[in-house]
């Protein structure tokens, strides 16, 4: 029974003489929320950038549904159904929310207007954007035609999450999506993550917020010194044990690979 959706084996990524990822493994199962935790600089972002096609690894392989994939750009990963919310956001600030939501996959008008003149269906994209925001219960945005640079950090984060949720067909990855958010906004994003999981799409959540991780995660991938130290279930371990493993104060549990 193979329910592993996204898998990585022996990933290595170096930046000059810094080895950000040193032979890391990774497994994401169908329908789960997998939290990835680790100290700053442990290589979490670098690992998920490999999974999302943003960087090409120096060694190791990535498998989607058991088949090897070689993402050369985020676009490749998106085509495969993997959507990512980056820690440092990916948006065009001067463009409006709806435009940002559909950036890179714009909808064209039907008929010759679209096929010959390549005219965009702005109305449709806005309607769908509004629908998506409603569906995700996002209420803090005033208008879908606001430019992104007029939004607060939390609002931008929400837009990025909404975009990932809207287009992620196989996997949604979020790199510290709540880091810049207030309590209420954080809770909104966590709800959103659960809702995405409930639609059957597995979510990778990188976060430093331990209570949140313990609240939503099905499993916790603990990253240390560029590789996976172990994977645990929130129910099996106390929060301070997990933090101990993360910082190296405690050894990883013997039966590390939770099944």
């Amino acid at each position: 029974m193979n329910d592993i959706v996204l898998e990585a084996r022996g990933i290595v990524k170096r930046y000059g003489h810094v080895t950000a990822v040193a032979g890391a493994d990774f497994d994401l199962r169908a329908g789960e929320i997998l939290a990835v935790i680790g100290d700053n600089g442990a290589g979490k972002s670098s690992l998920i950038k490999v999974l999302s096609g943003d960087v090409v690894p120096d060694a190791g392989e990535v498998l989607l549904d058991g088949k090897p994939v070689h993402f050369k750009s985020p676009h490749d990963a998106q085509l495969a159904g993997i959507e990512t919310v980056y820690q440092d956001l990916a948006m065009a600030p001067a463009l409006d929310i709806a435009t940002n939501l559909f950036l890179g996959r714009e909808i064209r008008r039907k008929g010759p207007l679209g096929s010959v003149l390549r005219m965009l269906d702005v109305k449709e994209m806005r309607a769908q954007s509004r629908q998506q925001m409603d569906a995700l219960g996002i209420t803090t945005l005033q208008s879908i035609t606001q430019p992104v640079d007029s939004l607060s950090g939390g609002q931008r984060q929400t837009v990025a999450v909404a975009r990932a949720a809207a287009f992620g067909r196989r996997v949604v990855i979020m790199d510290e999506p709540t880091a810049a958010l207030g309590v209420r906004e954080s809770k909104g994003v966590l709800d959103l993550i659960r809702r995405i999981r409930d639609t059957g799409i597995p979510v990778v959540l990188i976060s430093h917020d331990m209570p949140a991780v313990f609240e939503v995660a099905d499993r916790i991938h603990i990253h240390r010194l560029g590789r996976r130290a172990c994977v645990v279930r929130p129910g099996d371990h106390e929060m301070n044990e997990v933090v101990g493993i993360m910082t190296g104060a405690l050894p990883p549990p013997a039966a590390a690979e939770a099944s």
């Binding site: 600030p93 950036l103 005033q142 007029s150």
Partner: protein, 341 residues
């Protein structure tokens, strides 16, 4: 709050459509519609010169100013799309001039060679655009340096190619100079029609197509654009090649203005177009601006030139006013971006 589909692109491109949080003032409107500033300056300059001189406000003179705008106006369109991606093109005039020389030399022998010559010129200009595009997008070198190098090379190459003024025969190459009188007395040349069409088509492409949005997105934040799934290298490439094609069109426009060309022609076209683009409200930091504004910017400079001639005022005042406009426009852009932060 308006949500008309028609203006969507322009809004997305330049400018906020902030919903009801602040009272909408005239100042806000100027800040929000990037074309209003240059338009106001243009109208104001026209009004001033019409009051100040006897001959400025005449159908004939306006027709003339439009005709004078065709070359720099077309070059400015290429400059605009490059600046929108956060780049700059110092070689645009040099590319166009080499294009005119290649065309003129090939067409020197026979009228029948004019169309093939034009085609070769188009290829040369597009290829030179592609060279900048390749170096900028693949090697990631700064456009300022790349095009400065290209400018230096092309100036020398043009002089090695020919040292003389080359004249083409009246024919397909000078076709754009032909014109007709609208309403009996407003002379409009084909060149003017073509430049206006070029502005319109490019405006459409930038505001109503996915390509246009990607151009703005790349200029806003190239890494972010890449992460949203845009093939940023291809967008950059397409912009530089299209700019090259526009420079070839400018070469044709130049023949419409004067059948003669030389390696010394249009020595300041690069700065003239940057001036027009900046006065037109496009941000030198990329990601914000319009081609319409750039064309208005080119017109403003010409109106100053014409008006000051009519008034018999020292042409150096034109430079002073132009300089002030450039600084004012950049100040406006800076304020806009600060407000946006």
């Amino acid at each position: 709050m308006s949500e008309s589909v028609q203006t969507a692109g322009a809004k997305a491109a330049g400018v906020p459509d902030t919903s009801g949080t602040r009272a909408v003032t005239v100042v806000d409107r100027v800040f929000r519609n990037p074309v209003l500033g240059p338009l106001a300056a243009l109208v104001l300059a026209c009004v001033v010169f019409s009051l100040l001189t006897d001959n400025f406000f005449s159908v004939n003179n306006f027709s003339l100013i439009l005709q004078q705008s065709v070359v720099v106006g077309t070059l400015a369109l290429g400059q605009t799309i490059i600046i929108l991606t956060g780049g700059i093109d110092l070689a645009n005039g040099a590319i166009m001039v080499l294009g005119t020389l290649v065309i003129a030399k090939i067409a020197a022998d026979s009228l029948n060679l004019q169309l093939p010559a034009l085609f070769v010129g188009l290829l040369v200009c597009a290829a030179l655009g592609a060279v900048s595009g390749l170096i900028v997008s693949r090697l990631g070198l700064p456009p300022f340096i790349v095009t400065l190098g290209l400018l230096t090379i092309l100036q020398a190459a043009s002089r090695l190619y020919t040292k003389e003024t080359v004249v083409v025969e009246p024919g397909p190459l000078t076709f754009l100079s032909s014109g007709t009188y609208l309403f009996g007395y407003f002379r409009i040349t084909l060149g003017v029609v073509v430049v206006l069409l070029s502005v319109a088509v490019l405006h459409y492409a930038l505001t109503r197509t996915a390509w246009g949005r990607h151009v703005y997105a790349v200029g806003n934040n190239e890494l972010a654009a890449k992460r949203t799934g845009i093939n940023t290298k291809r967008v950059l490439m397409s912009v530089y090649v299209l700019a090259g094609v526009l420079y070839a069109l400018a070469a044709l426009q130049a023949f419409g203005r004067s059948p003669a060309t030389s390696p010394n022609a249009f020595p300041t076209a690069n700065l003239d177009t940057i001036t027009a683009v900046v006065i037109g409200g496009t941000s030198l930091f990329g990601g914000r601006g319009t081609v319409l504004g750039s064309y208005l910017g080119a017109l403003i400079v010409l109106v100053l030139q014409s008006g000051l001639t009519q008034a018999g005022i020292d042409p150096l005042y034109q430079n002073i006013v132009t300089g002030i406009l450039v600084i004012a426009a950049v100040a406006l852009d800076t304020v806009t971006r600060k407000k946006a932060r």
